[in-house]
């Protein structure tokens, strides 16, 4: 099939020799279902041009045919879908940036049925006149209900390419670097800077977006130190590669320059190899670079001129034409008209002429320019039309003619009759816009320079230097000199052993240049609103007329104009259009460009995939999973897990054929009738030592700690300074000046930082140290009437007698042969022991307990049963039964508040504020459904009168609710206004499913109200 079609598509625009392509490596690719051939070293764009393909897309708003305009990142038109399989689809690839590889499949993103015969373009032609700026804001309002229908049609036209439907097969990663000097861009200035800096021995990184370093030198005709520019580039790269203090990154776009010289560099590691990255290699990498000094050597983008139908395929930048000819050996057409405001524009005519194709004319907008290039044009006998401009391109789907007319000196109007030149390519150059993008990222505003007709990087407080084109420098020798100077200066800033004059400037002969003319919008015989469309931003179809209309409508700030017209919001971010647009707005408003404002760019310089930004933090590595020492046992015993923060906690342990409720019933009943075991290792544990540890506890807990003796434990409640409950847990006195605090699982890190905050900033005079021991201890709770008997089987050195080892005591000893701390505390209300052993013994002890627990049918229970068991006893879970608006008093925990402590503990003053003392606050109560079989949904809202109309007055909500097999009915907890005083009253819960559930307010304890069991 390939061969069949091949014959029809010869590379008719490919020159027989030259270019930096490998003619031995022929690559086949597919574009819009047709096969083409190119060479290694091509981009998609150069290969398409070589094959004579003109139309590569349709415009967004008017659906006009568009061709390749540039040869680099600034390309607004040639935006393609690339990918040969569903999973490797990449939307919106710039054909000018994507290296060609064998088997590449790409297609245009708009145009139906085909990009060359697009039905939408008819609509665009008819409706286009109506679709001025602000079109959407002015219509589709009537009738109101129709908007959603209109919007469906609007959305149908949305977007350029498409996202894949399948998961990405490739992976991405990041790498951190810390360097002394970071050079962005490897043209003449960047390479010079890199070499100058590198020779001093400082750490240097240089990154460039292209596959080959050298920038414009790669298609330049000049020589450096008597070497062809390309050879000089090779020599410099070779030297850099030999230095171990240099990292040289090609195919790497510096996308962001963030605060304190932090840069993000997007390296496309495998884009040139194929759809999919080779095994083991990440497709893209983001280098995160911290640099002492940054040297911007990003060069400049050529501005095309704005003239009628300047979007026709065949209209290109002058520099792009040169680049295609010299770098890729591709001449994008047969006959060329050049329009330029400056000397640089001439080069493409020479290149075109020198490969033997026709240059119809060079149209110089300047009337009296005189410089070396003009002499060279004459030498070549190229027709030169001075003081004139191409005011309009003509052609159906591609350029066939250029309308040329003489213009006045400042380019504001046409002075002569237009005449027609036959051509298929119009190259234009309106000057160069320095690529100042990165300099804006930390808030610096670029500065307009009339002498170079462009913005240059503005003042910055960061260590950032610029060199070469980005600084407005236009001659090669000056670019190189600036590079050397910047490199030397940057190196000197970070190194004591700077080598003076590490590099001397190479010999370059510059040509005599004539000043450029300030021209952006080429005048036409008609006003912009009536002339054929003059495009400023190709991708968003913003025209000169549109900009003028916007200013007439009152959008006078450049930011308004941009937003109203969408200028600069495309994927090219206005690299070629923004300055032209600003100039047009400035002129319309009668201001200078500097007065009109500046153009501020945001990251990214060029778009970067989400995959790259996310790096390796996806899938299984999205967020750490934290495991307890007993996790393996849980997995082997069929546990389902609950995410609690980053922890994986066993949720429940279903057996064959059990429903979740069956499991919970079994686990809860087993615990209350025999013995159950819970993995509580995730609880936060903080070791507190120091002579003032006790004092400190008294200040951060609401209750009293002065008298807790060693060997005893106490429940503690922690509030914020606002008096709202923040965390709770049991703290044990290990020795007079040594405590072990436990926190909630989710609150562990926060509480530790909280303690450190208060200690370090408020009370540094207190002698106290905090150390997290959460991971050190494996914690297992055995609970139930048989827990003592079970413990006795594995622990012989602690007196377990109920009077010797009382409720809220702790003892150290050994359990299953392992040193352990055993705490007689209970979150179930049962006789209960919390066994703590160093984590590396956790699984051993756990299994030993099961080994010995067979006779008691020891039952593992998970977090869900833990919730049920604690709710049966009315124990709260901070974060579930509280929400940051509940004081200890609201929580009915007045007993845990000691207001007679000498120090005004954290939370005391807060809970005495006016609103915290008012009646009718929401308070924690038990809720008993009238029908014991009905379980209230957690989150159900309470009303006192269910008959009222909406909006109803709500008085609280259910915080915890379960079916309790032990209580033989549903149980619930919730917060209800004034609830503590309203025990016995009914509240109603109207639900979304139409039911209204009635429940009576009561206390929160459902099992063992006198608390006998835990003390037994």
């Amino acid at each position: 099939m390939v061969d069949l079609i091949q014959g029809r598509y010869v590379q008719k625009n490919r020159l027989p020799s030259g270019g930096r392509i490998n003619r031995d490596k022929i690559l086949t690719f597919r574009f819009d279902n047709r096969y083409y051939k190119g060479y290694e070293g091509d981009t998609i764009a150069s290969a398409l041009l070589a094959n004579g393909v003109k139309v590569v897309g349709r415009s967004f708003k008017y659906s006009r045919p568009r061709g390749i305009m540039s040869a680099g990142v600034e390309e607004p038109n040639a935006i393609l879908q690339v990918g040969s399989t569903e999973a490797t689809q990449v939307p919106n690839v710039r054909a000018t940036e994507q290296p060609l590889y064998d088997g590449l499949v790409c297609s245009t993103v708009n145009g139906w049925p085909h990009v060359n015969f697009d039905v939408m373009s008819l609509l665009g032609r008819i409706g286009g006149n109506m679709m001025g700026p602000g079109f959407y804001y002015k219509t589709f309002m009537f009738p109101a209900f129709m908007w959603e229908t209109y919007e469906k049609f609007i959305r149908r036209a949305a977007g350029l390419g498409r996202a894949p439907k399948e998961r990405d097969v490739d992976s991405y990663d990041h790498m951190h670097h810390h360097v002394d000097v970071m050079i962005v861009g490897a043209g003449a200035a960047g390479l010079s800077a890199a070499l100058a800096a590198a020779r001093t021995g400082v750490r240097v990184m240089i990154a460039d977006e292209r596959s080959e370093m050298g920038g414009g030198l790669l298609h330049s005709t000049t020589s450096i130190d008597k070497l062809p520019a390309t050879q000089w580039v090779a020599k410099v790269c070779h030297e850099l590669d030999g230095l171990d203090n240099v990292v040289r990154l090609s195919r790497s776009v510096v996308n962001g320059l963030h605060d304190h010289n932090f840069l993000t560099v997007n390296e496309r590691r495998t884009h040139h190899l194929g759809d999919q990255a080779p095994e083991g290699v990440t497709r893209e990498r983001i280098h995160k670079v911290r640099a002492h000094t940054v040297i911007l050597a990003t060069g400049a983008h050529e501005r095309p001129l704005v003239f009628g139908n300047n979007d026709l395929p065949g209209c290109m930048q002058c520099s792009a034409v040169s680049e295609y000819i010299r770098r890729y050996a591709v001449v994008p057409g047969g006959s060329l008209v050049v329009m330029t405001t400056n000397d640089a524009g001439y080069q493409c005519a020479f290149d075109w002429h020198d490969v033997g194709r026709e240059v119809v004319a060079i149209v110089d907008t300047r009337a009296n320019a005189d410089s070396d290039v003009i002499a060279q044009a004459k030498q070549r006998e190229i027709t030169l039309i001075k003081g004139s401009a191409v005011i309009e391109a003509r052609g159906q789907g591609r350029v066939t003619k250029a309308m040329v007319a003489s213009i006045n000196a400042d380019g504001s109007f046409v002075t002569g009759e237009p005449r027609t030149l036959i051509c298929d390519t119009i190259a234009s150059s309106g000057g160069w816009s320095p690529a100042v993008h990165l300099s804006c990222h930390t808030g610096s505003r670029p500065r307009w320079r009339d002498d170079i007709l462009g913005f240059v990087p503005g003042e910055t407080h960061e260590q950032v230097l610029s060199a070469g084109g980005v600084a407005g420098t236009q001659t090669l020798s000056a670019c190189i000199q600036e590079g050397i100077k910047a490199g030397t200066e940057a190196a000197a800033k970070c190194s004591n052993s700077s080598v003076a004059d590490a590099m001397s400037a190479p010999v370059v002969e510059d040509e005599l240049h004539a000043p450029a003319m300030a021209l952006y919008l080429v005048p036409h015989t008609k006003a912009p609103t009536r002339a054929s469309k003059q495009f400023v931003d190709m991708q968003n179809d913003v025209t000169a007329a549109g900009l003028q209309v916007s200013t007439h409508e009152g959008f006078e700030s450049i930011e308004h104009v941009k937003r109203y017209t969408a200028m600069g919001f495309g994927t090219d971010q206005g690299k070629t259009g923004n300055v032209n647009g600003m100039a047009i707005v400035a002129k319309t408003l009668g201001q200078s460009i500097a007065e009109t404002g500046t153009t501020v760019f945001r990251p990214n310089y060029t778009p970067v995939t989400f995959g790259a930004v996310a790096g390796s933090h996806t899938g299984a590595l999205f967020d750490p999973k934290r495991f307890t020492p007993m996790h393996r046992w849980h997995v082997e015993h069929g546990a389902l897990f609950e995410n609690v923060g980053q922890w994986k906690r066993p949720w429940y342990f279903p057996r064959q054929g059990e429903s979740m409720q069956d499991t919970l019933n079994r686990e809860c009943v087993a615990t209350r009738t025999s013995v159950g075991i819970l993995d509580a290792s995730t609880l936060g544990k903080i070791d507190i030592q120091g002579d003032d540890a006790r004092e400190f506890l008294g200040r951060v807990y609401t209750n009293a700690w002065a008298k807790l003796p060693p060997g005893r434990c106490r429940y503690g409640l922690m509030c914020g300074e606002d008096g709202m409950v923040m965390d709770d847990g049991v703290t044990s006195c290990l020795a007079e000046n040594h405590f072990l605090m436990t926190t909630t699982t989710g609150g562990a890190a926060h509480v530790l930082n909280w303690l450190e905050l208060y200690h370090q900033t408020e009370w540094p005079e207190l002698d106290v140290y905090f150390t997290s021991v959460t991971d050190h201890w494996a914690t297992m709770t055995i609970a139930g009437p048989n827990s003592r008997a079970l413990l006795a089987k594995v622990c012989s050195d602690i007196d377990l007698d109920k009077d010797a080892f009382k409720f809220m005591d702790w003892r150290s000893g050994s359990v299953a042969g392992v040193p352990a701390r055993v705490f007689r505390i209970s979150f179930t209300g049962e006789l209960s022991y919390e066994i703590n052993v160093p984590a590396h013994y956790g699984l051993h002890v756990w299994e030993a307990l099961f080994e010995q627990g067979k006779e008691f049918d020891l039952t593992a229970y998970g977090t869900e049963s833990m919730h049920v068991l604690r709710a049966e006893k009315g124990f709260v879970i901070v974060g579930q039964d509280t929400d940051g608006s509940i004081t200890p008093i609201d929580m009915d925990h007045a007993w845990a508040v000691a207001n007679n402590k000498p120090f005004s503990y954290i939370g005391k003053r807060g809970m005495q504020r006016e609103d915290c003392l008012r009646p009718n606050r929401k308070q924690l109560v038990g809720l008993e459904t009238v029908d014991p079989a009905v379980v209230l949904p957690e989150g159900a809202q309470a009303v006192r009168n269910p008959e009222q109309s909406i909006p109803m007055t709500m008085v609280g909500h259910v915080t915890s609710s379960y079916y309790s097999a032990n209580a033989g009915r549903s149980i619930a907890m919730g917060v209800i206004r004034d609830g503590i005083n309203r025990h016995g009253e009914s509240v109603f819960f109207p639900l979304a499913d139409g039911r209204t559930i009635e429940a009576r307010i009561r206390n929160t304890v459902w099992v063992d109200p006198d608390g006998e069991r835990q003390k037994s």
Binding site: Y137, W147, H441
Partner: protein
């Protein structure tokens, strides 16, 4: 002033778009206004619009130091919803929602309010409890809302990974069908055009450098470009700069201004027809009518007026987006930016009198400002016109931070944005 309609579009097309009228004047400020609104963003312009329209105030000026809508109005991710947990917040945002529903017609300006629904995901059991609680509260407050399970989420958002095999599986969501997005700039421009038509002077490029206070009462503002402008009452509606303005009047606010970042993808063909938010994995996403995926991140933790934040926040958001929508891996992120959000301790706004008489503040909207725009303007206009808060504004006094009557929206999941 031309009324916008299909006919006016057609007529102007025939006239080569040359005869559109200005959307607002560029008036020279008068020496005195009855009301000065400081801040020409959506909220400020809406305030002025409703002062003129609802309260028939004829002497109103909006003073803007830059360009209209140039602050957070033009920088947010355009989500509109009203499913707030606490009654006070829910009523205020629902008031805004009702105004949104007729706004394009009221302003004769299409703000492209698209009620495509907002989904707040739950990723753990506590999320789901909070979602149940909030949806139940919303329903009893007359606000539409449903609790969805993972399967229903999957049906509405086919590209979302609801497989259960993710790190934090989607367990379900709250769903507000009436919620959606709107075109942010159009809101500012629509209100500006509407206010201007009703006689409000909109003064751009005019920076307030001081608030003039005499005997404990505000009497006017000092401006950089136009000197002193006196006023009967002054309303400050300058998100991101409220603390600075309060400082001029001599008091502090319970506010910290933090960077809030957002980013967009390149335009791609529609893959997401609703708004998905996830607080647990920190990210939210919608897709604009142009095809951009609009993605919001969390707040940076430090005070920052630079309209930019730190890169790790962007990265974390990208992790979350990839976790939820793995198919975007090869889609390109185009542009990132930052706004300045005034955060309050309870994540609820301040619509309030101040210690200075005749000086009122509308601020502290945090990440929730855009969605409230019409309601905020409507209620604040009422406060300015009458000098005392109405029922909707009452709870949002700045003095709640003294007596402790906070409205703690932090307490509920899925409400921070």
């Amino acid at each position: 002033m031309t009324r916008f309609s299909g006919f006016s579009l057609f007529k102007n097309a025939l006239q080569h778009q040359e005869n559109w009228q200005r959307m607002w004047r560029n008036p020279t400020p008068k020496a005195h206004y009855d009301f000065i609104v400081v801040g020409g963003g959506g909220h400020g312009l809406a305030t002025a619009y409703y002062l003129a329209k609802v309260h028939q105030k004829s002497s109103v000026a909006v003073i803007e130091k830059g360009w209209l809508g140039g602050g957070n109005t033009g920088r947010n991710t355009t989500i509109v919803r009203s499913n707030y947990l606490w009654d006070e917040a829910a009523h205020l945002y629902e008031h805004a929602m009702k105004l949104w529903e007729g706004l394009s017609q009221d302003l004769n300006y299409n703000v492209m309010f698209s009620q495509r629904g907002v989904m707040n995901l739950g990723h753990n059991l506590q999320d789901m409890r909070d979602i149940e609680r909030r949806v139940n509260a919303n329903r009893l407050n007359g606000i539409d809302g449903e609790v969805l399970d993972a399967k229903q989420c999957q049906e509405i958002v086919p590209i979302m990974d609801c497989s259960g095999s993710t790190r934090y599986p989607v367990l379900g969501a709250s769903w507000q069908p009436r919620a959606g997005v709107a075109r942010h700039d159009a809101v500012a421009w629509g209100y500006a055009r509407g206010a201007d038509q009703l006689g409000v002077d909109i003064i751009q490029q005019c920076e307030v450098t001081d608030i003039l206070v005499e005997d404990g009462a505000a009497i006017g503002v000092e401006t950089k470009q136009h000197g002193t402008i006196k006023a009967g009452r002054i309303g400050c509606v300058a998100a991101g700069h409220s603390g600075v303005l309060a400082g001029m009047a001599g008091f502090q606010l319970p506010i910290e201004s933090h960077p809030l970042q957002a980013f967009v993808s390149e335009p791609i063909k529609p893959i997401l027809d609703t708004v998905v938010m996830s607080n647990a994995v920190h990210g939210y996403m919608s897709q604009s009518d142009k095809g951009d995926l609009v993605i919001g991140a969390g707040i940076d933790g430090y005070v920052g007026y630079g309209q930019r934040g730190s890169f790790p926040v962007i990265e974390h958001t990208a992790h979350a987006i990839m976790e939820l929508f793995p198919v975007v891996s090869r889609v390109h992120m185009n542009r990132q930016w930052g706004g300045i959000v005034d955060t309050t301790p309870d994540a609820c706004p301040i619509l309030s009198a101040t210690p200075v008489e005749n000086l009122f503040f509308n601020c502290g909207w945090g990440t929730g400002g855009f969605k409230a725009t019409p309601g905020s303007g409507h209620v604040f206009a009422d406060l300015l016109a009458k000098g005392r808060p109405n029922k909707l504004a009452e709870a949002f006094s700045m003095f709640r931070f003294y007596d402790g009557a906070l409205i703690d929206e932090h307490g509920a999941a899925g409400v921070a944005h």
